[in-house]
Amino acid sequence: MSAITTARTQITGRWEVTRQALRAARRTLAIWSAAFAGLIALYAVIWPSVRGNTSWRNLFDTLPQTYRALFTASGTIDLSTAGGYLGVELMGFMGPALIAVYAISAGTAAIAGEEDRGGLEVTLSAPVSRARVFGQRFAALAAGIAILMIATGAALWVFSALLDMGLGLGAIASAAAALGIFGLFAGAVAIAVGAATGSPAIARGVAALVAVASYLINALAQVTSALRPARPISPYYLVLGNEPLAHGLWLTGAVSVLAAVTVIAAAGGILFARRDLS
């Protein structure tokens, strides 16, 4: 083995855990990318009939605020523009729900699921620290979410062009980033709780609870004054509350959620390194 090959192996080997995790997730990622693109295609082909339909628009305008709060992040429904329409259809519930489902299942599988099925012990029989395994599996989780959001953004761009929806690249990037950050938050809770406990069931349960709570806090804060002060602790509100497809990404909100993700992941990594494997 020459010195050059050795050096190259050491560099490619450094991200081996991430590489292997992404390789194993190839098919899942392809299916999920297709699902996101398909969903957007569906919304897009319906769009022309919504655009011309004023009676439907009027119906939405008469809906009670509670109802609107459950459909959208901000409580405003504007079906006259493609951004407003997709804000209700995609960004309000379906998009965040789907990316959260993906991220929670991938985050749960990353450590706790691997541990449950035995793969974690194989990886950890090699000279790698638990911190490195956790960090690299977290990186694979983030990369997977990024891939899905690139697919989502690409689908938005293609269908916007095909059906004359007039979505700008900035708006599309903001929407994909907002959904991705929300997914990353849910996934970070799942991987961290799984790493800290070793239990896939607890990881999945806690992460789902946190994701749903963050959605509900935002919705209910709009209609219950008692919950209003709690709204800024909802990651859903922080990244999706200002309708990124219509108004761009709210940076302060996005950065706060990413800061929370960092803290959660760091805590998960530290607890993972301190406990017994099951």
Partner: protein, 301 residues
């Protein structure tokens, strides 16, 4: 035979799970070029010890060191020189053994080990089928192969030959012997005495988390219990064998003698030679019987 450097050093190693003391003050040394057989019934603490040595578990008390490195704090450095076969081999079902070997090689910062193919041939491992499609025995072989890759100078093998057919077992023992000659230290757990007998230099017997004894193989053999069945040409006198040293459970049915010998069977053979022996059958008692007798302990359950 190696330089006899201490490779594994466990000192008063203990592991407690809640109220259960899975391992209670184990002290053990394994040196380079030495195979220590780790014997005990299921649940005795063998796997717990292996997992403590791998740094998967944190000791409740005491310490475990490999090459002087702490198994918990310095586990990556320990793993760099250790091959591990878990008691239950669970690999990524969709990956082939070749892909897993390559993955582990990269994690070690090495090229795909060219010795893999040779070793796979010797152990009859199918490198190119997803391990999830392999039978239990074939998966076990893949696990053994993975543990041996990268020429580790310590092998921790938890029940390595369970589910292996005799031919592969023999080849595995041959590979093991070569490694040991080259100075590799081996801790091999089993609940089968005969396997340990074949490969080990010393035997550590563990039960309910405690080390009952640490003996050379020869020493253990002297203490082992044998069940004998002897058929005579004609019935011997009823009390002919009562005075044989070490004999117990004597049952004489006409010309058939059944008895148990503690330790070497020589005293009985000497007495038997006075009679016309048609057939002689000796079976070594299994491990549990052996050390239950040795220590006169009841199974606590």
């Amino acid at each position: 035979m190696g330089d006899h450097k201490v490779v594994i050093q466990a000192e008063a190693l203990s592991k407690r799970y809640g109220r259960v003391l899975a391992l209670d003050g184990l002290s053990l040394e394994v040196r380079a070029g030495e195979v220590v057989g780790f014997l005990g019934p299921n649940g005795a603490g063998k796997t717990t010890t292996m997992r403590l040595l791998m740094g998967y578990l944190r000791p409740t008390a005491g310490s475990a060191r490999v090459h002087g490195l702490d198994c918990w704090r310095d586990s990556p450095a320990v793993h760099a020189r250790t091959g591990y076969l878990p008691g239950e081999v669970r690999l990524w079902p969709k990956m082939t053994a070749r892909a897993i070997a390559a993955h582990l090689a990269r994690l070690r910062g090495q090229e795909y080990d060219t010795g893999t193919a040779d070793l796979a041939k010797r152990l009859d491992v199918d490198l190119d089928r997803p391990v999830g499609e392999l039978s239990k025995g074939n998966r076990q072989k893949a696990g053994v192969l993975l543990a041996l890759l990268g020429d580790p100078d310590l092998l921790l093998l938890d029940e390595p030959t369970s589910g292996l057919d005799p031919l592969v077992q023999a080849e595995f023992h041959a590979v093991l012997w070569e490694r040991v000659q080259a100075g590799t230290a081996v801790l091999l757990s089993s609940h089968v005495l005969s396997e340990v007998e074949r490969v080990a230099d010393r035997v550590a017997i563990i039960r309910s988390g405690r080390l009952l004894m640490l003996e050379t193989m020869a020493g253990l053999r002297e203490k082992a219990r044998h069940t004998l069945e002897v058929r005579f040409g004609s019935p011997p006198p009823p009390q002919a064998f009562a005075a044989v040293p070490g004999i117990t459970d004597v049952r004489l049915d006409g010309s058939l003698l059944r008895c148990t010998m503690q330790g070497v069977v020589d005293p009985l053979i000497k007495v038997l030679s006075r009679y016309h022996v048609v057939d002689l059958n000796s079976r070594e008692a299994d491990l549990e019987e052996t050390f239950l007798t040795l220590y006169g302990q009841e199974d606590p359950k």
